[in-house]
Symmetry: C2
Subunit: 214 residues, 2 copies
């Protein structure tokens, strides 16, 4: 058991060193970087499609798409009008700094103002691995239920902003956004929260403003 713990710590420490190198590279090129995380199907890619469409007139946006398999998401982002690089983790449940460094080498950093790294859909593991971001952002779909902050606290603790997405489903699900907000703030009093619907566009201006100010 001690061996396992030591190995895990070594992996995390090696990852933090690489993440710091990524971060220095981003700073050198004055690119602001967001690590976007959520459970599968909470709406990360749809949010990015909307974001690219809304902000590409004022910010030059690049996206790194993390998925276990397929390049479906990178194709969606390219169609929305931003440069996208796909990482396939081939089974791995999160992105790490090394994977992101490899993807970044395929991007032209001087041509970007904002880089969003869409992590693998997973409410647990991605929160443990820095990739060089300036801020972590997370999405919770209202359909996932209002008990999630208490049951998956680390991601809520690590994230600087929480988007409660799919607010349009509120009449159809037993999930109270006020309860989500209260529990998230109990874990992370400084977390900024926006209630949004990527379907109707509700609340997205708050998120765009947060990105502009990052």
């Amino acid at each position: 058991m001690n061996v396992k713990v030591t190995v895990v710590r070594d992996i995390l420490e090696a990852n933090e060193r690489l993440a710091a190198e990524n971060r220095a590279l981003f700073d050198r090129h004055e690119v602001r970087v967001v690590n976007l995380m959520s459970a599968p199907g909470a709406g990360k890619t749809t949010l990015l499609e909307k974001t690219v469409a809304a902000l590409s007139g004022e910010l030059r946006i690049g996206v790194i798409e993390g998925d276990i398999q397929t390049s479906l998401d990178a194709e969606r982002i390219e169609r929305a009008g931003a440069r996208a690089v796909q990482i396939n983790t081939d089974g791995a449940c999160h992105l790490d700094a090394n994977m992101v460094a490899a993807a970044v080498s395929k991007l032209e950093l001087p041509a970007l103002d904002l880089l969003v790294i869409e992590n693998v859909g997973n409410l647990v593991c991605p929160a443990e691995f820095k990739v060089g971001e300036h801020a972590k952002a997370m999405i919770l779909s209202l359909a996932e239920g209002d008990d999630k902050p208490l049951k998956y606290p680390l991601m809520f603790k690590e994230s600087r902003v929480l988007l409660i997405n799919k607010m349009d489903l509120q009449p159809h699900v037993n999930s109270d956004p006020a309860r989500i907000e209260q529990a998230a703030r109990q874990i992370n009093p400084a977390i900024e929260i926006f209630r949004v619907s990527c379907k109707t566009g509700e609340g997205l201006e708050g998120w765009y403003g947060w990105l502009r100010a990052l």
Copy 2:
């Protein structure tokens, strides 16, 4: 990198040995065991509440609840009328055979016909770790989108049954259950699929029949 790979393989092999021991114990007591997996908020606990209510007259059901933190789910299952033991993984993103062995020691196996092990909400890691089950079952919420089998193939490959839950949300989401079924069967041609709604009760008879026949 080679060291990391070797360690991961050792952990998986040690886990498989313990899982085989758990399985032998279950067989000795003639308890059938299901490992129930899904992303966070797909409806595992609600499904189990319904299942306990519907089947407890004919099957003696026990539940092991896996969560990173809280005992909320075990409390819900006990209220529904079944014996439940909570495992808190304290950060770990999946149950393993060792955790399940510890929880099983708190259950009276001779008093059970069916044991359902509700895994941590995660569409990736739990599929890699056997816990001694006779079958893996998974839930996908319709609200998660119809691209999930292609993006998270291992869980669909490992599961003997797939429940497409929250069918009641179909009028409100852009997600086609036929596309989910087609993609899931492409990965796993033998998978049994039931479209259900734990809210309305739609389709649950199929799942109950599958449990009776296990």
